[in-house]
Symmetry: C2
Subunit: 107 residues, 2 copies
DNA sequence: ATTAACTATTATTTAATACAATATACTAAG
DNA sequence: CTTAGTATATTGTATTAAATAATAGTTAAT
């Protein structure tokens, strides 16, 4: 799949997933991987960045079959950022649509 | 606007515009700028790259009020690439939608 | 012991856009 | 004539996010 399309959008997807409830990094990688190809280490940098900016808090929970899971919980600031970013996303794809669907653009 | 969202998509927009008829670089910048913010020099590198890959041919036409305009004409290869890329784009945004709209994701 | 599955982290590379400067041609204003 | 402004193309550098790939720790199974 087109790697470039994901720029900025993975961040949006992470925010969306965490707005639905706390998740740990590996779990996020798995759930987003169901919808698009995703390299294993990719999400951790996004998570770190968003946490550093105050959009998430984290806590550790012991795991039965591996190292402790680091859960991410979205903050109010994170929710506001998510709403804003989601709005921008939908506006953006509408504009792209307008460019792709201009007249004479048969097929 | 979110710069990252444009990654890969500007290329798609250029292909879409040229699939509707020949245009010169400045003209493309103007028409795409109507839908999204776009720095002045940005498109030229995209145009050069796509031309180098055989998706466009170019020709010069004298201009009344400035340097000669370099027109870009899409090739058959370019049209095929455009169809493929447009397909990937719509599949991609559908997958993103699926992630944003999963249950419990109220607002 | 070894392997495999689960989980986290991080250094390096790659690719596309933003930014900003340069250059050219022409027109209009002073 | 000179200067400013608009139209047009080109290119070097900076920024940023994802891919790649390597490292490492924990537990269970062979």
């Amino acid at each position: 799949m087109n790697t470039q399309f994901k720029k900025g959008v993975l961040e949006l997807c992470v925010l969306a997933q965490l707005s639905q409830g706390d998740k740990y990094g590996y779990e996020l990688t798995e759930s987003i991987s169901e919808k698009m190809t995703l390299a294993t280490g990719t999400l951790y940098l996004i998570l770190k960045r968003l946490k550093d900016e105050g959009y998430f808090e984290t806590y550790l929970v012991e795991s039965a079959g591996g190292p402790a899971r680091k859960y991410y919980r979205i903050s109010e600031k994170g929710r506001a950022y998510y709403r804003q970013m989601r709005k921008e996303w939908y506006e953006f794809i509408a504009q792209v649509d307008a460019l792709l669907k201009e007249p004479e653009n048969h097929d």
